[in-house]
């Protein structure tokens, strides 16, 4: 496998020396995976695919990966690693037995190196994050130049995705490639209403899909991830995507995005609990916010991140939403959860929310941008300081979030994609505008911070503080 590849031996030794320093890392790796690493020793590109009961779609994803590596990176050593979370539907078998139908591609691109396909169960807390951990460990030990991860439930993935996610790393000097998709206006509402605006306003990089799930990464970034010891928190579950993105932007890694077309993937498990998901994502965001408080404090405004790929419009599946149900949830939340909300929300914010819930009518319901931003900021600050009740607190956000989504649905009912994007941009600007308010209540410098500032001129650019 390594034949003809001019990689000096000492480089490989270096890897072997570098890895044992973190014994915890190695211990958490399954023996069979380690054995494979010892055998293969090196790969240039590692494609990681986490899976959990995805036998219907993962064959397609593996074929796309295979074809992508063969077509776009014929002279590189590629390896596809599936990290399975104990699927009961034969997902690992599908991975190792998928016939490679794209043989014409192989003919077009000679010489071609074999692409390995491996499938392992991982150790640790069940969840996507734990699956990634094993993939990253293997990529790091294999001394891979680039690692890319893609979801295994993707129906719209094509071989080009791998080119788009890997090439910026291999040839553009980027450390982190985030995806950029066209999505239905009601798809990805946690992204649109919380995660994107908040990460953008905090760290100053406009990564439109910070929790998209499909990423390309450089080796230095992988090693940085592996160094960290918070793998067994919410990061191990749905928090992993935002964790990866935040570390990359906060620690000054070079980030970009690639346009991948549409993201069509399997429907979420209907049993999946929205409030648990919301809690995992928000708690990851807020915890990282605490870690990087000195970083984001000094950053003002935001700048666009480089975007690769050819943008085109795509048709999307329609999405039905039930406005009444969301409003009912919001109203009921305001009735029931006032006792918990008052821990986080300041009295005037809480009063506004309650008033809104009292008068909510489906026709013209409107939860103002500014109110929403204040809600998010105030929850972030309380989550920072109440360790014990953080979970309870964050689980109580759900009705507020549904209220915000309802408002968004009402407002954008008649809008096309471009207009909706514009609307989201406006929300982001509101987040950025109120950042001084966040800084006030977060660092608690001025006791008179109880009243949110109405407007603020962007201050002089402060030097970035990178030490954390």
């Amino acid at each position: 496998m390594l034949t003809g590849f001019p990689r000096p031996l000492q480089r490989r030794k270096l890897v072997k020396v570098a890895v044992p320093k973190n014994t915890k890392q190695i211990q958490s790796m399954p023996a069979e995976a380690r054995q494979v690493v010892d055998e293969i020793r090196h790969a240039d590109i590692v494609v990681g695919i986490p899976s959990y009961n995805n036998s219907k779609t993962i064959g397609h994803v593996v074929r796309a990966a295979h074809a992508g590596l063969a077509k776009y990176f014929p002279s590189y050593n590629g390896i596809i690693i599936n990290s399975d979370g104990g699927s009961k539907d034969g997902t690992p078998e599908v991975v190792t037995q998928t016939p490679m139908q794209d043989s014409q591609l192989l003919l077009l691109n000679t010489p071609m190196k074999p692409v390995n396909r491996l499938s392992f169960p991982y150790h640790g807390i069940p969840g996507k994050g734990s699956a990634f951990r094993m993939i990253f460990q293997m990529a790091s030990m294999l001394d891979a130049k680039a690692c890319v991860v893609v979801d295994s439930d993707l129906r719209s993935i094509t071989p080009e995705w791998f080119d788009l996610l890997i090439r910026p790393v291999l040839e553009g000097g980027f450390d982190f490639v985030a995806p950029y998709y066209h999505r239905h206006k009601y798809d990805g509402t946690i992204t649109n209403s919380i995660v994107y605006p908040l990460t953008r306003c905090l760290y100053g990089q406009r990564l439109r899909q910070p929790i998209g799930g499909d990423f390309g990464m450089s080796q230095p970034l992988l090693n940085r991830y592996l160094e960290r010891d918070d793998w067994e928190t919410d990061v191990a579950r749905f928090g992993i995507d935002i964790w990866m993105t935040t570390i990359a932007v906060a620690e000054g890694f070079k980030v970009c995005q690639s346009f991948l077309g549409a993201k069509l993937h399997d429907a979420k498990d209907p049993g999946a609990d929205l409030s648990a998901m919301l809690q995992q994502v928000t708690s990851s965001v807020f915890l990282l916010m605490r870690e990087y408080e000195n970083t984001w404090r000094g950053r003002t405004g935001s700048e666009p991140a480089a975007l690769f790929g050819f943008r085109y419009d795509v048709g999307l599946d329609p999405i039905n939403v039930n406005l009444d149900r969301m409003l009912t949830a919001f109203r009921k939340g305001a009735e029931d959860l006032g006792d918990v909300w008052k821990l986080a929300l300041r009295p005037d914010t809480l009063a506004e929310v309650k008033e809104l819930a009292r008068t909510a009518k489906p026709g013209d319901f409107h939860l103002d941008d500014e109110l929403w931003v204040r809600i998010v900021y105030e929850f972030a600050c309380t989550a920072k300081s109440s360790r014990l009740e953080r979970a309870t607190l964050l689980k109580s956000i759900t009705p507020l979030y549904l209220g915000r989504v309802a408002s968004f649905v009402v407002e954008t009912a008649e809008m096309g994609a471009a207009e909706v994007e514009h609307r989201i941009e406006r929300l982001c600007l509101k987040f950025e505008e109120l950042k001084p308010y966040l800084i006030n209540i977060w660092f608690g410098e001025t006791p008179a911070a109880a009243a949110p500032p109405q407007s603020s001129a962007p201050g002089a650019e402060q030097p970035e503080q990178m030490e954390v």
Binding site: T191, I211, K268, P270, V281, D336, D339, S386, L388, E389
Partner: protein, 235 residues
């Protein structure tokens, strides 16, 4: 005549003087001692205010949700609390020592009672504090949980949790104080078993139907939500 008067006066004055001789020195000493303790208390309070950096403790209280319980806006500062406690403790010790100087039956008993009761009072107070904290914590968890599970009347569940925990705390505290322990314990048993009895009676008398109907309607609601959720991706 004059002699008798003199004698009488002498007797009175002598009586007062002997009384004074008995009481005055301890009083003077006691006042003096108390003054010394007062000065010491003031000094210690001043010193603690300067020297104790309560920031860490403040944060701990906040993280544990205790500040929110103790003060409405959640701004509790440990330093004045510690300094204040030390101040009052020193004053109390000063007062007790002063009292004991009189060495009468009354004062001795007062001192003994205080020394005897004080630890119990502190323990009972701590139990009540812990109970209040636990009640608040649990009732909030129950509130959010029942709300998210869409159970009926989340606020009532939360209130019931709070009352239960507080009640247990009161029983425990009264136990420590030795204050009518049996009454409280009996009340506890009666209330607890009454609740269980009422619940089982309700279940037996048609309540079971209601529960089943409720569960069914919840299932239906869930099913009918699935078609929507399946098209709905929040992330």
């Amino acid at each position: 005549m004059i002699r008798t008067l003199e004698q009488l006066l002498e007797g009175v004055v002598g009586g007062i003087v002997t009384q004074l001789n008995n009481l005055l020195p301890p009083l003077i000493v006691a006042v003096f001692l108390f003054a010394v303790f007062f000065v010491a208390a003031v000094l210690v309070r001043w010193f603690l205010t300067k020297a104790v950096k309560g920031a860490r403790m403040d944060r701990f209280l906040k993280e544990m949700g205790l500040s929110n319980m103790l003060a409405d806006r959640g701004d509790v500062h440990t330093t004045p609390l510690v300094a204040g406690a030390a101040f009052w403790m020193i004053l109390l010790v000063g007062a007790l020592i002063g009292l004991s100087l009189f060495n009468t039956q009354l004062t001795t008993r007062m001192v003994e009672a205080t020394v005897f009761l004080f630890p119990k009072l502190v323990t009972a107070g701590l139990i009540m504090l812990a109970g209040a904290w636990l009640a608040q914590f649990l009732s909030r968890s129950v509130l959010v949980w029942t709300h998210n599970e869409e159970l009926p009347a989340p606020r009532r569940w939360a209130a019931a949790t709070k009352v239960m925990v507080m009640f247990i705390a009161v029983v425990a505290a009264s136990e420590v104080l030795g204050f009518a322990p049996h009454v409280f314990f009996a009340a506890f048993v009666i209330v607890g078993s009454g609740a269980v009895l009422a619940a089982s009676l309700a279940m037996g008398l048609g309540g079971r139907d209601a529960v089943r109907r409720y569960l069914e309607s919840r299932e239906a609601a869930k099913l009918d939500r699935e078609d929507e959720k399946s098209l709905w991706n929040h992330l």
